[in-house]
Symmetry: C2
Subunit: 215 residues, 2 copies
């Protein structure tokens, strides 16, 4: 396997797509072997790129036969680290925070939101599923006792940077930011800024072209 | 411009990434000219791919100079159709539905959730921001009167297919599905299945490797 730093970011971003696609093949379609062309075709990725992406991590599949879906899913799962459970603290017990705590799809990716914190006295003590909302003042204790490396931000944009600073000081190593603003953190902290609006654009693109073709 | 059907799906999926990146360059960084290498570098996409993607839609930028960020954003916005406003009906007034209605980032992508429907009598009549939750029984009327082409599903997985069927019968042309299940629709309907879990995987990947390197 190559040095992790030499693997292109775009390759790393595609691994979860492969993983989900393989998961769907097994769960919904009962497909057990797939070629790089078929796998790529389902994702809009050329087969040469599929093979190149996987080659960074070892040798998978058999020439002329394809990949064993179960084996490849397991291998990529290990590469991604989703075969383990990663506890996370979520900051901001609003609608989006509640929705994420109740979201059914995180478990298969290894994510477990174990704690929810807020500054709002009206929210502290409320329950979200199995979790009781705690005070933001308890952040350091929560992170240390839970051995938590992952923080999720679902506060308004105006509060996001302050929350990010507190997460970093508490020892968090990776931040998933849902607030629609940029946050600045030290280089060694990994941040993913989630923009829910990205998903709509391909739909609007299609609608827009239907309109033009109908006109 | 080439026939829309001949443009690779992966190219279409990258256009919103370019659009958002250009938007950020203007809004946060005051950058007015950018090369395909710099643009690609920010997104983990090779410069050759950036130029190829854009070439499907015409000629942009000047050799040796780069792209005018404002012009390119405007052009891509037009291609994507986000320069117009697209009304949408959202089905499912739970936490995720409420979060989406209140989400600040949709407007710049042209999405406007105009109606929220639910079957739950306890939710019908409640307000979410400026919207009053209506009964699912009013779907056909809402879609027709609002001239709505876009439906958003935020109901539990078990109810998603039934809702999708109703949206199709009501005349919806594109569906954004947040329920963690597959929905089956006629070929002419465009569906995007949103999986919120995808975003976490690149973070877990990094955490996982930090663990291995520290070990």
């Amino acid at each position: 396997m190559k040095n992790i730093d030499s693997i292109p970011k775009a390759t790393i971003e595609r691994l979860p797509l492969y993983y989900r696609c393989l998961d769907k093949l097994l769960t919904f379609e009962n497909i057990e072997v797939i070629s790089s062309k078929e796998l790529g075709g389902r994702l809009g990725i050329p087969s040469t790129q599929v093979r190149k992406d996987l080659s960074y991590y070892g040798e998978f599949g058999r020439r002329g036969v394809g990949y064993d879906v179960h084996d490849l899913k397991k291998s990529i799962g290990k590469i991604l680290g989703v075969n383990k459970t990663w506890p996370a603290v979520l900051i901001g017990a609003g609608n989006l925070g509640r929705a994420l705590v109740n979201y059914e799809g995180f478990e298969k990716m290894g994510l477990k939101i174990t704690n929810v914190l807020d500054v709002d006295l009206d929210k502290i003590g409320n329950r979200i599923g199995p979790i009781t909302v705690e005070s933001m003042k308890d952040l350091d204790k929560v992170v240390e006792e839970g051995n938590i490396n992952l923080g999720i931000i679902t506060v308004p944009a105006s509060a996001a940077q302050e929350v990010a600073d507190k997460l970093v000081r508490a020892g968090i190593k990776a931040i998933w930011n849902f607030a629609p603003t940029r946050i600045v953190v030290p280089d060694e902290i990994v941040v993913r800024n989630e923009d829910l609006a990205v998903g709509i654009v391909s739909l609007i693109y299609h609608l827009s072209w239907q309109d033009k073709l109908d006109a």
